[in-house]
């Protein structure tokens, strides 16, 4: 995406690197909470897509990027709740429903975009989030806070304990008087809302523009990073920043004229993630009931 290459040629600044990592950190942190409750939100990419589209549409109409962010969060939330209805409350397969959700988001955002702007799809320019102190904006400041918040709420609160239990042994959590279904829905709601915000940030934060396909698979990357970061919010955040770093490195190396094919660098984060998974295997960190539908009376 040509629109995202803002001044990489000059130098890589730390703040820039962080900016690029923001959507991924948001999405993967949300996905971590969701997976802790036992559900893999395969529809995360779709949440990013509807988040990005809604943020664009609302920002264009209201000229207010904050309202755009709110719309993105809402859209991601709604899509995740649709996913939850099928997978948690109707015990349907998470991969099947997630695939359908992603398709739905792809089709809806593209169809809506084309009915509004025509087939040509000229590059839109949007009012961006206000920046201060160089390239900082409010969502960037929110991100570290969010990671700490996610960590604390998962590990230090009763809700977090119950949430984790829903991901490990939903039957036991029900016996203790909680609703595993509600906990899983809450986990998905967090992942959807943050996925929506991640999409919104892509449009009104990072690029100030929108084009179909702007999410470029970031939702999928975020899902993989959760496994890579062993379901620990801090590790997951570090893993996504590593991806962002490798992504930015390609421009640097290209500019320096090094004989390394830049595709190798682009593939590197995924190769690293895969290698780590091979080394640790499924390991002991994975929530025991991850990916399995829970049925009350079975």
């Amino acid at each position: 995406m040509a629109s995202t290459q803002t001044g990489w040629e000059d130098r890589i600044e730390l703040v820039n690197l962080l900016r690029y990592a923001v959507p991924l950190v948001l999405a993967s942190t949300g996905e971590t909470v969701g997976q802790k409750s036992g559900v893999i939100n395969i529809g995360l990419e779709g949440c990013l897509m509807v988040g990005a589209y809604s943020a664009m549409a609302v920002t264009l109409d209201t000229r207010n990027p904050f309202l755009g962010c709110a719309a993105g969060i809402l859209a991601g939330l709604v899509l995740a709740l649709l996913f939850a209805w099928f997978t948690v409350w109707r015990s349907q397969d998470q991969v099947v429903v997630g695939t359908a959700i992603n398709l739905l988001a792809t089709g809806l955002t593209l169809a809506l975009f084309q009915s509004r702007f025509g087939q040509s799809g000229s590059l839109l320019s949007l009012p961006s989030l206000p920046q201060f102190g160089g390239e900082w904006d409010v969502v960037m400041l929110f991100v570290p806070l969010l990671v700490v918040l996610a960590w604390a709420s998962i590990t230090k609160t009763t809700w977090g304990l119950a949430l984790r239990a829903a991901g490990e042994a939903p039957k036991a959590v029900e016996a203790a008087g909680f609703s595993a279904l509600k906990l899983r829905t809450q986990g998905l709601a967090v992942s959807g809302a943050l996925g929506g915000l991640a999409g919104a940030y892509l449009t009104v934060g990072l690029t100030g523009s929108y084009a179909p396909g702007i999410t470029a698979g970031r939702g999928f990357v975020a899902i993989a990073m959760v496994t890579f970061g062993r379901w620990r919010p801090f590790w997951v955040a570090m893993a996504t920043i590593l991806v962002g770093f490798a992504d930015s490195l390609q421009y640097e190396l290209q500019a320096a004229g090094l004989p390394v094919p830049y595709q190798l660098l682009k593939a590197l984060p995924y190769v690293i993630a895969l290698t780590v998974l091979i080394i640790v295997g499924s390991g002991k960190d994975v929530p025991l009931s991850l990916g399995q539908a829970f049925r009350r009376n079975s």
């Binding site: 893999i40 395969i42 099928f86 109707r90 015990s91 349907q92 397969d93 991969v95 099947v96 429903v97 695939t99 359908a100 959700i101 398709l103 739905l104 792809t106 089709g107 809806l108 593209l110 169809a111 809506l112 084309q114 009915s115 702007f117 025509g118 087939q119 698979g217 999928f220 990357v221 899902i223 993989a224 496994t227 094919p261 595709q263 190798l264 682009k266 593939a267 995924y270 190769v271 993630a273 895969l274 998974l277 091979i278 295997g281 499924s282 390991g283 990916g291 399995q292 539908a293 049925r295 009376n297 079975s298």
Partner: protein
């Protein structure tokens, strides 16, 4: 039978509703779609050409999912298959092009896809890496492999554009009519459907694969080598997706560039699901969506949102299908027996 009719009717309803939602007059819209998909021999050819990669990737998904491995790496396997075919094409350059090229390149495509998918299968059974996660990662890596190949070792002789040289016509899949895109890949895809059907429902291997897919634990308890079967299933699945890439390459595009991936690998998943994960059921499902893709070009007269509506229709259809099986499950509930994910 009733289910098939219901599904077919449901698909038409979904189609009509989606058109209505986007402000297209339903009657004329449907008519135009049908005309664009089946109106004359050119339209039918367009439909079959679009259905071909869908059928092959959907067959791939069917084999894997029936064996309990959720391969969502069809896109990566499709790409790697095509890259392998292109690599063989480059090696064959000194010889004179002919049908033997086509055969060798398609075999390379199958092997490439199969190898790439087996990697994920092997990681799953040996290292416990979830197929869903590993195939997602492998999809991203495949895109970079393609990018590197067409800019590096497989780049065209002229050296201008990051793409491979065109395959000589003599090595392309046979076309039945010079005016149409329809190529022999259609026949290959149909043969593959029959072959997958025979494998899954008429052989011992297929039976064991289905048992493994129904209940891995029970299969293991009965001395069935579930691990090995799941790797085999991934290999076959990837082989079919790789073949899809090879067929698209040798039937339609003739050269690889970075725009080669067109999501056929992903779109195979909903087609497989709507085909009831049955190798013969995916044939009508693939033709239906092939027809939608072929016909939706015509729709752009009514709405700028042409082809993108097909994705919406696919998604709604899958969700509707899933909701229908929910109803079935709830009916089954009173006897107290529930199966694991079906």
């Amino acid at each position: 039978m009733i289910r098939t009719v219901l599904t077919a009717l449901g698909l038409v309803v979904v189609l009509a509703l989606t058109l209505a939602c986007f402000g297209v007059a339903v009657g004329p819209g449907l008519l135009l779609l049908t005309e664009g998909a089946f109106g004359d021999k050119f339209a039918i050819a367009r439909t079959l050409v679009k259905a071909t990669p869908l059928l092959l990737t959907a067959l791939g998904m069917t084999v894997a999912w029936k064996t309990g491995v959720y391969n969502i790496g069809g896109e990566g396997q499709y790409i790697v298959g095509a890259v392998f075919a292109a690599a063989i094409g480059k090696l064959l350059l000194p010889t004179s092009p002919g049908p033997i090229w086509t055969v060798l390149m398609l075999i390379a495509a199958i092997l490439g896809g199969a190898g790439y998918a087996s990697l994920a299968g092997w990681l799953y059974v040996r290292r416990g890496v979830e197929i869903v996660i590993s195939t997602i990662l492998l999809n991203f890596i495949a895109i970079q492999i393609l990018g590197w190949a067409v800019e590096g070792p497989l780049k065209e002789k002229a050296g201008q554009v990051p793409q491979t040289d065109s395959i000589p016509d003599a090595a392309m899949l046979i076309k039945f009519d010079r005016q149409m895109d329809l190529h022999a890949g259609v026949v290959l895809a149909l043969l593959a459907a029959v072959a997958v059907y025979l494998l899954m429902y008429r052989t011992r291997l297929g039976f064991l694969m289905r048992v493994t897919g129904d209940n891995r634990r029970a299969a293991r308890a009965n001395q069935i080598p579930a691990d090995r079967l799941q790797v085999v299933a991934m290999a076959i699945s990837g082989g079919l997706c790789g073949l899809a890439g090879g067929v698209q390459y040798l039937g339609i595009v003739g050269r690889l560039g970075t725009t080669f991936p067109e999501q056929w690998g992903f779109l195979g998943i909903p087609v497989a699901l709507l085909g009831g994960l049955h190798p013969l059921g995916v044939i009508p499902a693939a033709v239906y969506f092939g027809a939608l893709f072929a016909g939706s070009d015509q729709l752009s007269r009514f709405t700028p949102a042409g082809t993108s509506l097909v994705y919406v229709i696919q998604a709604v259809a899958v969700l509707g299908f899933v909701a229908m099986s929910t109803v079935k499950w709830r009916r089954r509930k009173p006897d107290g027996r529930t199966e694991s994910n079906s």
